[in-house]
């Protein structure tokens, strides 16, 4: 029997164990083990994606126990795509961030790599699993490891940011757990596919409604949808760069994936849109999240904080799109999981390069960056254009689907919010570019006014270059991605 789906999740888990042991022998060993384990996991994820494309959904029974008693890993087109995304970003970030980690947390780098791999285990497991309770445990693994890594960041504020994240994160996970409890009372099963079949007969039940509301609320807290977002900006901006780079593109996107999985697979779109009448309210919440995130980003004077608020804004796109109630909107939301992960990763890679050389990313520190770090800035400009939604970058295409979906559903306010936020993002990024390009360098010692090139090391630039290529590639091949991965999944 082929064990590839299990290998995706188990490789980083074993890697974490051996990284911890290897640090006793020699410190750098833990980094290399992490590199190998995430690479193995990426290769396995690509293998699974290939298999799923040809042979359809892959149901892998953990330890041979048949569902609904055993735990099942269930990989279909949607999570095969997300698995490849997670493992590839985790691997590339390790390559890019080794120097940042050495600079920021030199004494604790082995523990960082152990936690990093466990974090990746959590994300991959959440994506691959077909079991509701298993999902809860893996969400908590992801969250616990992120608390510890955030606390390794900024010495003054990171601990408090991590504590606040714990308080809110625990409430989110507990709500989800409670929802699973109600589902278990009504169906007597925890396997997603099994629960879905049983739920078809009892759509009117209030217990099912309670379960749905609790689960979705829990996931919203974890993904930082607007009024529940307060933990995110601090947690992400005070975290060490090596971790911020992986948590920012992946954590919220994986939670959006969980929401879509619950809506499509467990409760069924028929239940969500025809039995419940929540869709309109949720689209409005998406609208508010988009506008609030964009406007709060306007008032930031630190690039790190500004990007964190852009994440809050992007969450609104995906939640609103998924709740529009038509195929176009859902396609846009799923495509945006992929695109937003790539764009945010590129932005944070560029941000990390800047912080590596300038220590801080407050706006006054950005002067003269175009001259000093041309390659990093090229990456930042491309990712920024993608966030704004300029074709042919990938950001344009998911926005296009979302706007089309909004028109089809008659949700003109959502389309308006998308366009307004694009304008605000344009203002935001051109403000940054203006500071980097035009503002004179105030503290230069060079009297000729020229800035010497001090570019980030190659190991940090290559991943940025690859992601930039991926951003354009995902844009150019957006049609292929939609036709081969997303539409077959939705039908």
């Amino acid at each position: 029997m082929n064990h590839m789906p299990a290998i995706i999740v188990l490789a980083p888990l074993l890697g974490a164990f051996f990284s911890g042991l290897a640090a006793w022998i020699q410190k750098p060993l833990s980094y290399y083990i992490a590199l190998v384990s995430t690479a193995v996991s990426s290769v396995a994820a690509v293998g699974v994606l290939k298999q799923v494309l040809t042979a359809g959904t892959w149901q892998y029974r953990m330890a041979g126990w048949a569902p609904p008693i055993g735990i099942e890993l269930r990989v279909d087109l949607l999570n095969a795509m997300v698995l490849v995304l997670i493992s590839a970003i985790a691997f590339m970030n390790l390559v890019a961030s080794v120097r940042s980690v050495d600079q920021e947390i030199p004494d604790r780098s082995p523990s960082f790599y152990v936690m990093y791999q466990l974090f990746v285990v959590g994300l991959l497991g959440v994506t691959a699993t077909g079991d509701l309770f298993n999902l809860y445990v893996l969400i908590e693994i992801t969250s616990l490891t992120s608390y510890t890594m955030i606390a390794l960041g900024d010495i003054d504020r990171a601990h408090l940011a991590a504590l606040n994240y714990i308080f809110i994160g625990v409430i989110g996970a507990s709500f989800y757990l409670l929802g699973v409890g109600y589902l278990y009372i009504t169906t007597g099963s925890l396997n997603m596919a099994d629960v879905a079949v049983i739920l078809k007969g009892i759509h009117g039940s209030t217990a099912v409604l309670t379960a749905f509301v609790l689960c979705i609320l829990g996931v919203w807290i974890k993904m930082a949808l607007f009024p529940l977002h307060v933990w995110l900006p601090n947690a992400y901006s005070f975290a060490p760069v090596g971790f911020a780079r992986v948590v920012a593109p992946l954590m919220t996107k994986v939670m959006v994936y969980v929401m879509i999985r619950l809506m499509v697979t467990v409760f069924g779109l028929d239940y969500v849109f025809n039995t419940l009448h929540l869709a309109e309210i949720v689209v409005w919440m998406g609208v508010i999240a988009i506008l609030a995130g964009a406007f709060m980003a306007l008032f930031q004077t630190d690039l790190k904080k500004m990007l964190a608020y852009i994440i809050v804004c992007e969450i609104g796109y995906m939640v609103g799109g998924a709740w529009l109630g038509n195929t176009l909107g859902m396609t846009g939301a799923i495509l945006h999981i992929l695109n937003d992960a790539l764009m945010t990763f590129a932005l944070f890679l560029a941000l990390g390069n800047i912080i590596y050389l300038r220590k801080q990313a407050a706006f006054p520190n950005l002067q003269g960056l175009f001259a000093a770090m041309p390659w990093t800035m090229a990456g930042l400009v491309l990712a920024g254009l993608s966030i704004i939604g300029v074709p042919p970058t990938c950001g344009f295409f998911s926005k296009w689907y979302l706007v089309l979906g909004a028109f089809e559903a008659g949700a003109y306010h959502f389309a308006a919010a998308l366009i307004i936020s694009s304008l605000v993002c344009a203002v935001l990024f051109f403000k940054v570019f203006e500071i980097c390009f035009f503002e004179p360098v105030t503290d230069t010692h060079d009297h000729h006014g020229t800035v010497p090139i001090t570019e980030a090391p190659v190991s940090m630039l290559v991943p940025l270059g690859l992601v930039s290529v991926a951003i354009v590639g995902a844009g150019v091949y957006a049609g292929t991605i939609v036709n081969t991965l997303i539409l077959p999944f939705l039908h």
Partner: protein
């Protein structure tokens, strides 16, 4: 009034867990001291554990160990009624959830220690003043 009371008494386990959960939530939101917030968080998680444990219980049922002659053929002959045995699954799930909550509590306490070492206080208002000074 008596109907409401009957409803409360019949489903008392749900009322209890909701009351406990709200106590925990109140402490997490309203308390000023980080340690008290942590205690609130623990009460909140324990409430959900109690909820799960109570839904596995059945009146007049016993532990889910099959009675009868172990290894012999007697156990197969006797008819086994599911109603005679408590549902073990929610209890087993809670073993995992307890581990998760203990781990969360441990991480949170470690962070409290770090905060206290740096600022010599766990009161949130004082921490806010100290942070705004920086």
């Amino acid at each position: 009034m008596s109907e409401l009371l009957a409803l409360i008494v019949a489903k008392y386990n749900f009322w209890l867990y909701i009351i406990l959960m709200m106590i925990g939530l109140y402490a997490m939101i309203a308390k000023n001291n980080l340690m008290k917030k942590l205690v609130g968080m623990n009460i909140f998680q324990t409430a959900i554990i109690l909820f799960y444990v109570s839904i596995g219980y059945k009146h007049g049922a016993t532990l889910p160990i099959i009675q009868g002659d172990p290894g012999g053929h007697g156990a197969h002959d006797a008819v086994i009624h599911a109603a005679d045995y408590i549902n073990p699954v929610p209890h087993v799930l809670m073993l995992t959830a307890i581990v998760v909550s203990v781990a969360t509590f441990g991480v949170a306490m470690a962070l409290c220690v770090r905060v206290y070492r740096r600022y010599q206080t766990l009161e949130e208002d004082e921490l806010r003043i100290r942070l705004s000074e920086k």
